[in-house]
C-alpha cells in the first residue's frame, strides 16, 4: 500500500515535469524542469531496487547532461531569444501521432500476458554489476568505452572554434 502511494507521487512528479519540459514557452524553464523529471525516474529505479543505476542516473543525467543542455542554451541564444515562439506548425499532427502511439502501447502493455517470475529477488549490488560487466558482458563494456572515446573526440572537434 505504501509502495503504491510512493509510485503515484513519483509518477505525478515525473509526468508533470515532463509536460512542463515539452510545452513551456521559455526554453530555460523547460531545461530546468528536466531535473525533477530525472529525479523522479531515479525514484522509480530505487523502487525497482536498482540502486546503482539510480546513483548513476542522478550523477550523469541530473548532474551532467542537464548542465550541458543549460550551457548550450546560454551559449547559443537562450539568454536573448526568450520571447521567440517555440512551437512550430506541426502541433496538431504531433498531438495526434503521440496520442495514437500512447494508446497503442498502453493497450498492448495491459493486454500482454507477461511471464512474471515469482522467485525471491537477489540483492542487487554494485559488485554484482561489476562482475557481470567484466565476465559475461565484457564485450559490451569494451565497445561502450570505445564509443565514449569516439564521441568525446568528435564533440571536441565539432565544437571547436575555427582558427
Amino acid at each position: 500500500m505504501g509502495e503504491l502511494a510512493v509510485f503515484i507521487i513519483l509518477s505525478a512528479i515525473t509526468l508533470v515535469s515532463a509536460v512542463v519540459v515539452v510545452t513551456s514557452g521559455n526554453i530555460v524553464r523547460s531545461a530546468l524542469s528536466l531535473v525533477p523529471t530525472f529525479l523522479g525516474v531515479t525514484g522509480f529505479y530505487i523502487l525497482l531496487q536498482a540502486e546503482f543505476v539510480a546513483g548513476i542516473q542522478v550523477l550523469i543525467y541530473a548532474g551532467a547532461i542537464t548542465v550541458l543542455i543549460l550551457f548550450v542554451i546560454m551559449l547559443t541564444e537562450g539568454g536573448t531569444g526568450l520571447r521567440v515562439r517555440q512551437i512550430n506548425e506541426q502541433v496538431p499532427m504531433s498531438i495526434l501521432a503521440s496520442a495514437a502511439l500512447a494508446l497503442l502501447l498502453i493497450s498492448v502493455f495491459i493486454r500482454a500476458p507477461w511471464p512474471t517470475a515469482k522467485e525471491a529477488l537477489p540483492q542487487y549490488t554494485a559488485s554484482g554489476i561489476g562482475e557481470a560487466l567484466l565476465t559475461n558482458l565484457v564485450l559490451v563494456f569494451e565497445v561502450t568505452s570505445l564509443v565514449l572515446l569516439v564521441a568525446l573526440m568528435g564533440a571536441i572537434i565539432i565544437a571547436r572554434r575555427e582558427r
Binding site: 524553464r29 531535473v35 546513483g55 548513476i56 542522478v58 548532474g63 548542465v67 543549460l70 546560454m74
Partner: protein, 321 residues
C-alpha cells in the same frame, strides 16, 4: 515495512541534521573562518559581540534575515527563487551517508560514496540557474565559470573515490571505515588519492584558491550578486554545508572515520573533521587565486591523468599483493 514509522524517522533525522548543520556547521564555521583568518594574518578576528566574539554569527544571521527581499525587475522570478534552494538542499543531502559513529548514520546506503558524488554534482544546476536568472552579465559569467570549474573537478574527485572503493571493496561509507581497521588508515596507502581529493574538494565548493567565480575584484560577487537577505544566506549555507561535508567525507575515506583509542567515536570524528576544515581554511588565507585557464588546466591536464594512473597502480597492487 512500516511506512509511517520510516517516514517519521526520515523527517525527524532530516530536522536534526539540518539543525546540527545550520547551527554548528554554518554558524560556527563562519566564526571559525574569521578567527583563523585573523590569527594567520596577525590580527584579531571579531571580538565585540559576546565573549571573544562567539555570538558574531548570530548577529550576522539576524542582520541577514531582516534585509529586504529584492528581486530584479527583468529576472525570471520562479527560477530566481528556486536556485538557492537547489544549492542548499543538495549541500545538505550529502550528509545522509556520513557516519559519525558505528551506528550514527542517517542511512547506510550500499552506494554511499556514489550518492555523495551525485549530490555534489546537483549543486551545479542550482548555480547555473541562479547565475542565469539574475539577468545580469556578471552573474551569468560567474555562473558559467563556476559551473565549468565544478564539472571539471568532479572527475578527479570521482577518480579518488574509485581508488578508495577499490581498496576497501565496497561503496558503503561504513564499510570503508571498517576496512581501515585492518590495514591502517587510507591516508598512508592512498596518499595521492588524498591529495587529489582535497584539491578537488576545494574546487568543488568554490573556495580560494579556486574562487574565481566569486571574486570581488573581478565579477562583483559572481553568481550571487543579485541575491539579498535570506536567499544569500541559503547560498552560503549550502556552500558551507558542502565544505563541511567534503571534510567529513575526507575523514571517512582517508583518516579512519570514527576510529580512535580512548574517546567516544563521535568525538574522534569531529576532531578529525575539524582538522581538515582547519587545513582548508589555512589554504584559503595562504594561496592567491588561480586564473580560470590555469584552474581548468590543473584539473584536466594534471589531476585527471594522475587520478587515472593512481587507479591503475591501485588495481595492480591489489591484484598482486
Amino acid at each position: 515495512m512500516n511506512w509511517g514509522l520510516e517516514i517519521a524517522k526520515a523527517v525527524g533525522l532530516a530536522v536534526v541534521m539540518f539543525t546540527f548543520l545550520a547551527v554548528v556547521g554554518a554558524m560556527f564555521g563562519v566564526l571559525l573562518e574569521r578567527k583563523i583568518g585573523g590569527w594567520i594574518q596577525s590580527r584579531l578576528g571579531p571580538k565585540h559581540v559576546g565573549p571573544q566574539g562567539l555570538l558574531q554569527t548570530i548577529a550576522d544571521t539576524v542582520k541577514l534575515l531582516q534585509k529586504e527581499h529584492i528581486t530584479p525587475r527583468a529576472a525570471d522570478v520562479a527560477i530566481f527563487n528556486t536556485a538557492p534552494l537547489i544549492v542548499a538542499v543538495a549541500g545538505l543531502m550529502d550528509w545522509i551517508v556520513i557516519p559519525f559513529g558505528p551506528t550514527l548514520i542517517v542511512r547506510d546506503l550500499n552506494i554511499g560514496v556514489l550518492f555523495f558524488a551525485a549530490m555534489a554534482s546537483l549543486t551545479v544546476v542550482g548555480i547555473l540557474a541562479g547565475g542565469f536568472a539574475s539577468n545580469n552579465k556578471y552573474s551569468l559569467l560567474g555562473g558559467l565559470r563556476s559551473a565549468s570549474q565544478m564539472i571539471s573537478y568532479e572527475l578527479p574527485m570521482a577518480a579518488a573515490f574509485i581508488a578508495v572503493a577499490m581498496q576497501a571493496g565496497t561503496l558503503s561509507t561504513v564499510g570503508i571505515v571498517n576496512a581501515q581497521a585492518q590495514r591502517g588508515w587510507f591516508v598512508l596507502w592512498q596518499f595521492p588519492a588524498f591529495v587529489i581529493f582535497l584539491i578537488a574538494a576545494t574546487a568543488e565548493v568554490n573556495r580560494v584558491p579556486f574562487d574565481l567565480p566569486e571574486a570581488e575584484s573581478e565579477l562583483v560577487a559572481g553568481y550571487f550578486s543579485e541575491y539579498t537577505g535570506m536567499r544569500f544566506a541559503l547560498f552560503q549555507l549550502g556552500e558551507y554545508a558542502e565544505m563541511f561535508g567534503m571534510a567529513a567525507m575526507a575523514t571517512t575515506l582517508f583518516l579512519g572515520g570514527w576510529r580512535g583509542p580512548l574517546l567516544p567515536p563521535i568525538i574522534w570524528f569531529l576532531l578529525k573533521m575539524y582538522l581538515i576544515v582547519f587545513f582548508l581554511m589555512w589554504m584559503r588565507w595562504t594561496y592567491p587565486r588561480l586564473r580560470l585557464d590555469h584552474l581548468l588546466n590543473l584539473s584536466w591536464k594534471l589531476l585527471l591523468p594522475a587520478g587515472l594512473i593512481w587507479i591503475l597502480i591501485t588495481g595492480f597492487v591489489i591484484t598482486f599483493f
